[in-house]
């Protein structure tokens, strides 16, 4: 057959990968297509993932699949068109791991400030390991370093690196790990793009610094590491501080602690002194006040005593006076005398009344005898002047026409003198 070494270019489609590990597909372009088969041995060696729509260049031999009577190409080499296979694999893996969140910033751990033990995963050959040890010890002369030696290129490298990450985690004695190697071609650095390495770094509980190749080389290990250092030496600088700096910082802090406390104590002492002085002054004032209060109290006590004494004297005097004027004996005396006097009074009174009544009776009798009324009753009348009310005894006392009043036994008469007659006897 003349078709044992055919190069073909086209788009992958109808891709199928059953459990056997063989991969079946169709390779096509705008106008034609041919079935393709990639047997397991070839498929396993592929560094990138086959996918429908992928533009590839493949090499193989054309055979006939007899059950269907169809031509097919048995692929023994295949690579993506345009980019290299490595590049595509890198992009594909990067995409997948990124989707899983392995490169997210919030997964990144902080490096310890002052690690006492540093783990290094790298090759024992090459300058990188010596560089790192030199830099680490220059910065921090008292540092324990544990090197986990690995191959950093070739088929076994990725597995060894991943194992070493796990081994250092299990050892539990290192505070931070540097994973890296010196510069090389992108194929040389390839191990650091492999999934096993990326996943081991992601799973590490110890913070990891990646340092692969030179500044311009970026691997997936760099993406997943907690810190990416551009070179192994830079990684060494990143993981440990300069011991002298730490010591001087510590010394500074210690000094500042003491100074701050001294200052504070001095301050407090001054405040205390001040307070004490004020207290003393205050106490003195208090004593003064107390003295003044005492004086006032004494004065007041004295005044009260005097007042009380005066009052007592007055009271006694008045009491004495009162005693001397006690009306009780008088009253008692009166109580005895008054009834006597009363009875005497009554006796005398009755006697008097009796006598008076008798005298009055006699008088009444005499009066009755003398009363003009009795004379009047015998038919006499009394004439008196109406104007002067003088009793008229003589006719000459009146004049003609004068009005006179005549008193009778019963009633009175108002009379006018008609004529004055001379007394026949006169």
């Amino acid at each position: 057959m003349g078709f044992s070494d055919v190069w073909i270019e086209g788009e992958l489609s109808n891709l199928r990968a059953p459990g056997s590990g063989h991969v079946y597909c169709t390779l096509k372009d705008d106008v034609s297509q041919i079935r393709g088969v990639i047997f397991r041995a070839t498929a396993m060696r592929l560094r990138f993932a086959l996918a429908d729509g992928l533009h590839v260049v493949a090499r193989g031999r054309v055979t006939v699949y007899e059950p269907r009577g169809e031509y097919q190409i048995v692929v023994d080499y295949i690579e993506p068109k345009g980019v290299g296979a490595l590049q595509l694999a890198y992009e594909q893996l990067k995409q997948r791991l990124a989707t899983e969140g392995l490169f997210q910033l919030d997964r990144k751990r902080c490096l310890p400030f002052f690690p006492r033990t540093v783990g290094i995963i790298t090759s024992l050959t090459g300058a990188a390991v010596q560089d790192m040890i030199t830099v680490l010890h220059r910065r921090c002369p008292v540092l324990r370093i544990i090197v986990a030696p690995v191959l950093v290129q070739g088929q076994e490298a990725a597995g060894q690196i991943a194992n070493a990450v796990r081994a250092l985690n299990e050892l539990g004695e290192v505070d931070v790990i540097i994973v890296g190697r010196g510069g090389g071609s992108s194929e040389d650095l390839w191990s650091f793009n492999q999934e096993a390495v990326v996943r081991a770094i992601a799973a590490s509980t110890i913070p990891i610094v990646s340092a692969v190749g030179h500044e311009t080389d970026v691997t997936l290990a760099d993406f997943v590491a907690d810190v990416r250092a551009p070179t192994p030496s830079a990684a060494a600088e990143a993981v440990v501080p300069v011991l002298l700096d730490v010591l001087s910082r510590l010394e500074q802090l210690s000094l500042r602690t003491q100074q701050a406390m001294n200052w504070r104590c001095e301050n407090e002492r001054q405040r205390l002194d001040l307070s004490l002085a004020r207290l003393t002054r205050f106490r003195f004032k208090l004593l003064e006040e107390a003295q003044r209060v005492d004086a006032v109290v004494l004065q007041m006590t004295h005044a009260i005593h005097e007042g009380v004494k005066d009052s007592l004297e007055t009271v006694n005097r008045i009491k004495h006076e009162l005693m001397t004027r006690n009306p009780q004996p008088c009253i008692r005396h009166g109580l005895g005398v008054v009834p006597q006097l009363l009875s005497r009074l009554q006796g005398v009174m009755q006697h008097h009344l009796h006598r008076r009544r008798e005298r009055a009776g006699a008088c009444m009798t005499t009066l009755n005898h003398l009363s003009p009324l009795s004379t009047l009753s015998r038919g006499y009348s009394i004439i008196e002047s109406l104007s002067t009310q003088q009793v008229i005894r003589e006719a000459s006392q009146v004049s003609t026409g004068q009005e006179v009043l005549a008193r009778l036994t019963k009633g009175r008469l108002r009379c006018t003198v008609q004529e004055i007659l001379s007394d026949p006897s006169g």
């Binding site: 002052f114 024992l124 921090c140 544990i146 030696p149 191959l151 505070d175 802090l253 210690s254």
Partner: protein, 83 residues
Amino acid sequence: MAAVKFEQAMARLEAIVGELEKGDLPLDESLKIFEEGIRLSKNCLRVLEEAERKVEVLVQDTNGKRELRAFTTDEEPGSSSSF
């Protein structure tokens, strides 16, 4: 891990110095953190003094048994790259 503790101690020490220098805390509190600060700085210093300079190699034999061995510059390449 010791490194974390050291870092925390340094951070705490720094916070204490800040507090003391501000001078806002009551005296007894200040005294308390002052003592803590002195203790921390002594501890940190001891950590630094006790740290040892040593380079070791973690090797794994064919049975998967791991051990730490002193590192020498004339380390045989390949002899211990057993991961």
